[in-house]
Every structure is written in structure tokens, then in C-alpha cells.
Symmetry: C2
Subunit: 411 residues, 2 copies
């Protein structure tokens, strides 16, 4: 008998039928002898519908009120799941984030979890109820309702698993697990049985996997082992956990492509200390996440070009900020390009193996794909290329590292 935190995403509770399926899943896990805490997202497109409605009323709605509005989606789901479990014959009790003591900071729409009380859940479990918790939400110190931003329900599940010291956390979704690459693009992509936190983090940050990086970070921080698995079948999914020595034998775990970035170049930046810092401070102050940064060598000039990528959604704001900095520091001008994509390979094995970058670049060169920018981290190599070549590049890299073949030394 263990304590399992299960999380069901919006597609798993989109209709009455799916709500019943999810409830059955929860019920079965309970009847198998486990204590269950289920975290549930808003139904299907409900959140988008509510955002659309809000937009008709106020194109720049106060974020506190957005949270008040959107938190209702998850609240509806937990009530409906609890009803469905009761219909199966077991007692269930639903909770809002506030009711289970998920306390956050006051940063509406992107709040951070500060603390989880959990008393209400312990009480419910002790009384042999299945506890159903609204994902994505909490309350701040003044009892205002807050939401956790994209992927917030995963975060709720992971954080609850940590706070309750759960034996397992299961993230149910509409895919079978984490793949070596997006199977819609790479037909022979392979489902991974296991992936380390760090690899999953990189994959998540690349938008390649089913989870937001923030949730994986929390899981890593608190050592929460979790599986990503399908709500539609009983296959085991992918286990995400601390790395083992054996994992290092795989040099590249997966590959991913990201098409929602844009590239900004600030030209002829005077080559004085602090100019780059000034730019990136300003961008950070505007909550813009900068990804790849490349500063070209000053070719004997007293000025240099700095190029960086940002989420395409933030491009307009990033351009505004960059242009303002450009004027202040007397740089030459700003250009941008949102017709780019980023292809990356990820693997903790590359820490102890050489030649990964050269293999990747060679494969792309052989396919006549031109590389704009390169960025590397300890366990990731990314290249920025033309968007038109994105999917071809992913398939090409996937093949170069034999990712379609099950666990073996690929280099």
C-alpha cells in the first residue's frame, strides 16, 4: 500500500465520458490498495473559452481577476471527478487549491508555491476518502486566488507529491510517455522507459515533452520520482528520476525542435564593459526569457553584434526594449527574424563523450541545412536554423544518433 499522486490533464477530463474514465482509473488505483490524491486540470478548452470571454470584456484584464476567473475551470473538474468516483461506489472529496493549503506568492497568473499545508488531504485520506485537488491554483497570504501559469497542474501534482511524501506521482496525459523526438515529426521516434531529471528538464525547456520545465525542477529538487503515462491505456509510460550510472551509456537521449522563438540582433554595440549586461538586465526586468545568446567576435572593430533568441510571443516587447537600449548605448541598430527554429539534442551521456557536436553538425551539413547560431550546455547542443528546414533537421539528427534503436551505446 502506497500513497500515489495522480494528475489528469484537460484532455483527460474534457467530456463526461472521459471524466468517468479518469475516475475509474483513480478508483482502480485505490482499490488496488493505494491511497490516492488526484490532481485535475480544467476541462478541455474551458480555460481558452474563459480567456476569450474575458478578452471580449477587457483586452487587458487585471491579473487578479484572471486568476479568479480561470481557477473555476479546475474547481469544476474536481467536483465532477468526485461525483464520478462516488458513482462508482467510493467516497471522494474535492478541494480547491486554497482548501488544501497551497499557499503561493501574490504574483497573479504566474504564482510560485511557497508552502503546502495538506492537513485537509491527510484528514480526507484518514477518513478513507479519495482526495481530488484542483490543479493550477493556490491562494496568497491575503486569500486571493492565484494561478501557477502554464503547466500549473503538473506543478501542483509534483509539489503535493513532495509535501505528502508520496511513494509515486503519475502524470496522466494523452501520449504514452516521453519520446526520443516528437512522433508526429519523426515517425520512428521511440518511447523512453526512463529519463533523468536533467534530460527531462532540457526536453521540457525545449517544449519537446509533455511537461513544463518548472515542474521537473521541483521534482528534481525534492526527489519526486514520477511517470508520464497515457490515461487511455495501462502501459507503464516513462519514469523520470535521478540519474544512474547506467544512463550515462546513452549519449543522446532525445532530440527536439522548437519553432516558437524569434531572433533579435543588436548591431554595432560599442565594445565597452557592461553594454550586454545592460541589455539583458532590461529584458529580464520585462520578464522576457532570453534563450540562446551569441556575441560575434569583434573583427578588429570597436563594436560587436549581439544576437539572442526570445519566445516569439515576447518578440514585440523584446524589440521595444532592445531598441530603447540601442539608443541609450549608441549601438548601430536592431534587426529581428522570427523565421527560425531551434533543433537540439539532449543526453547526460554527452558529459563524458566527445564528438557529439561534430556528429550533429556533420549530419546537418550533409543534409544541406545551414546553421545560424550554436549553443551548448553540459548535456545539450542546440542549433538555430531556418524554420523551413526544422522538421527535416530533426529527422536527420534523430537518425544520426540512432535514436530509433533501443538503449545502446550510440557512439
Amino acid at each position: 500500500m502506497g500513497l500515489i499522486v495522480q494528475k489528469f490533464g484537460g484532455s483527460s477530463v474534457a467530456t463526461a465520458e472521459r471524466i468517468k474514465n479518469a475516475a475509474k482509473r483513480i478508483y482502480d488505483a485505490h482499490m488496488a490498495g493505494n491511497e490516492i490524491v488526484a490532481v485535475v486540470s480544467a476541462r478541455g478548452d474551458l480555460t481558452d473559452e474563459l480567456i476569450g470571454l474575458a478578452d471580449q470584456i477587457n483586452t487587458d484584464p487585471p491579473r487578479r481577476e484572471m486568476d479568479m476567473l480561470l481557477a473555476t475551470g479546475e474547481q469544476q473538474s474536481v467536483a465532477l471527478i468526485a461525483m464520478a468516483i462516488e458513482a462508482l461506489g467510493h467516497r471522494a472529496r474535492s478541494f480547491t487549491g486554497g482548501q488544501v493549503g497551497i499557499r503561493t506568492d501574490g504574483y497573479h497568473t504566474k504564482a510560485k508555491i511557497m508552502d503546502i499545508g495538506g492537513e485537509a488531504i491527510h484528514k480526507a485520506l484518514k477518513e478513507d476518502h479519495i482526495a481530488i485537488v484542483a490543479g493550477f491554483q493556490g491562494v496568497d497570504a491575503e486569500a486571493n486566488i492565484t494561478t501557477l501559469g502554464r503547466g500549473g497542474s503538473d506543478l501542483t501534482a509534483i509539489a503535493l507529491a513532495a509535501a505528502l511524501k508520496a511513494d509515486m506521482c503519475e502524470i496522466f496525459t494523452d501520449v504514452d510517455g516521453v519520446y526520443t523526438a516528437d512522433p508526429r515529426i519523426v515517425p520512428d521516434a521511440r518511447k523512453l522507459d526512463v529519463i533523468s531529471y536533467d534530460e527531462m528538464l532540457e526536453m521540457a525547456a525545449l517544449g519537446a515533452a509533455v511537461m513544463q520545465a518548472r515542474s521537473v525542477e521541483v521534482a528534481k529538487k525534492f526527489g519526486v520520482r514520477f511517470t508520464v503515462r497515457s490515461s487511455l491505456n495501462t502501459r507503464p509510460g516513462t519514469l523520470v528520476c535521478e540519474e544512474t550510472e547506467d544512463m550515462e551509456n546513452v549519449v543522446v537521449r532525445g532530440a527536439a525542435v522548437q519553432k516558437d522563438e524569434a531572433k533579435i540582433t543588436i548591431m554595432d554595440v560599442p565594445d565597452r564593459p557592461g553594454q550586454a549586461a545592460r541589455l539583458f538586465c532590461e529584458l529580464a526586468n520585462n520578464n522576457i526569457n532570453v534563450d540562446v545568446i551569441v556575441q560575434n567576435l569583434s573583427r578588429g572593430k570597436s563594436a560587436t553584434d549581439i544576437t539572442f533568441t526570445v519566445p516569439r510571443n515576447d518578440m514585440k516587447l523584446a524589440l521595444k526594449v532592445t531598441e530603447a537600449v540601442c539608443k541609450k548605448i549608441g549601438a548601430g541598430g536592431v534587426i529581428s527574424d522570427d523565421n527560425i527554429a531551434k533543433v537540439s539534442v539532449v543526453g547526460i551521456g554527452m558529459r563524458s563523450h566527445s564528438g557529439v557536436a561534430s556528429k550533429m553538425f556533420s549530419a546537418l551539413a550533409a543534409a544541406s541545412i545551414n546553421i545560424h547560431m550554436i549553443a551548448t550546455s553540459e548535456i545539450k547542443i542546440s542549433v538555430v536554423i531556418d524554420k523551413a528546414a526544422a522538421e527535416k533537421a530533426l529527422r536527420c539528427v534523430h537518425k544520426a544518433f540512432n535514436l530509433n534503436e533501443a538503449k545502446k551505446k550510440t557512439q
Copy 2:
């Protein structure tokens, strides 16, 4: 400058456009120099949609979970109204029932308000925010979300007006006020400028007016003067308040018809003390509200017939209960009829005027309408008739008491 509690029903916030209208109404009242607390219901048919969804999942859903589900409707409305007010350029802050300290008992789906904290509202008003409060809901001692049952948002508004010692409470709805009779049935029905709590209570209990009796009771108990008025125009509506001497000059204030009742007769009840009590105790234990009760005279027999009316929704249960009691006490049998209607006239003036009943019966007789049952209270006379004659009877009574003519002695 006064403190006004305004309440907007579901039809007043059914669409984005109507939400903006309601917000404008609130904003205007604030800009006219008042502090505003607005209580809002769920949008249009949302509550019914949620009930329908729940029904697909569990035909007998736990009431706690129903409350959890339905409370989201009002929560969405308050967020949207707050956004709409902010779009007009004033600060607004939305609150759930729990957030403003509306504490109830634990009787889910029909909870009673025990206490209102109100600190959060005072704080918001002090900071020059317009406060928007979710109607219909509260929390019990264990922070479970409860709802107040039908008409719950009116109750929230009245109770808040009492707790905050508001100068006025305005119930906005889609009609111009309280009428002498339902204008859809009686074309020359007249809008009343003023009506006493007691008259409004009777009208509400008859389902004739725009409010539930419970809200009027609370208003009377705490002396909350309120108006019922249209959200679509600025006409003053109907003031509901304590009675004045002047009001007594009107013998009949209004007339109403009720078609959602059924009649049950238990025949040949042994004429021993306590038999009727036994029946009505059992009905009360099953939460069935019995309305008109008539016990026929024992015509020299040792048994009597008892006839009573109940809401048609409760007829099945009431029959079951009555049949069980019938067996236990050895009565002759149970018959029922849901093909009935009740027509009533209401007026505090009838306390000091005679001849009201005879005038009513004569008018019905002249129209060849047969009376099944008669019930009178201090300020109301009701007759039960065939349902087919219901609307004709209402028009006939309305005319007999000259209700279409403005304030004058009608007898």
C-alpha cells in the same frame, strides 16, 4: 454619499455585452458618489448547464460536490464584472462568498447564512475599490463551499446589506418591479411603487414575484429596505419596506397564480387525536413543504378526509410518505391530483377590511370557476381550482379588485 448593495441576476450578466452594461450601471452608481458592493449571479443558463453535466456523471451527485461545482458560476461572473469595471477605468475587486466571510451551516445546496464577516469588503471600499461579491455561496465551519439554494444571490445581497448597514439595496432584474399580477397573464397589471415586506413575502411565496420568500424574510428581520428594478432602464422600480399606515388603505395589493402544486387526499382517516399530526410530521421529516390543508368535517362518521397541497416536484415522495402513514393508521386510501392551480390575493389592508373573501368567491362564481379548496391567512386568501381555469381566474380576480387602477381604496 451612501453605501449601496446592488444585485444582478443571471440574465443581467448572461453575455459579454450584458456584463458590460451591468458594470456600467455599477460604475455610474459609484461615480454618483456612492460606495458600491455588487452581488452577482451565475451567467444565464450556466448553472443549468453544470447541473446537466453533473447529471451525465452521477444521477445522484453528492451535495457537497454540487456546491463545489455550482459555486464556480458566480465566481466567473464576479471576475468578469470586475474586469468590465476596470475597463471603464475604476478599480474593482471580486470576492467569493468565502473570501468576504459569508459563513453558513453545513447543509449543502440549501445552506443558511450564520454570519457575515465583511472585513475584506470594508478593506476594499476603504481603498476605493468597488467590491464585487459572488452571490448564492458561502463556506461552512470547515471551509467547505456551500450554496444557499434557489434565490440565493438575492439572499446574499440582502444579508450583506444588513451586515454592512447599507443605505439601500437594489435588486436588479429583467422586470420593472413587482406587479399587481403577472403581466404575461394579466395585460393591464400595474407596477407597484411600494409594497410591504409581508405582502412581498406572500407574493414571493406564491412564486408570483421576482424573489424568493427567504430573502424577503431576512430583509424584514433586519429592516433592509430594497428596491426591485430593471437592469435595462433607470425607472425606479418597486420599493419593498416596512408597512405604513397609508398602505392599509389598499385592501388587495396584488394577485397571483401558482400552477406547480399538486393535491393529495388521505381518505377516511380514523377520527382519533394525533392522526393528522403523524402525517404532517412525516412529511416535514422528508423536507416536504405542505401548503394548503383542509380537513373536511366528519359527517357523523368516525373518519374524516384530509386534503393538502405540496410542490408538484415533491408529489411522488409525498405520496409515498402519505401511503405509508395511511397503512399505519388504517386510513381508507390516498388519491392525488396535479391538475390544479392556486389563485391568491394579498394585501395588508384586508386585516382591517371585511368582505374580501366574499368578493373573490363571487367573482369566481360569476365566471363559473369551481373552488376545490380555500385557505386564508391574515393578509392572503387562496383558492385551489382546476388548472385549466387558472389564468382566467387570475384575470377575473385582478379585475374584481380593480388592481389595474393606481392606489385608491378598492373596497
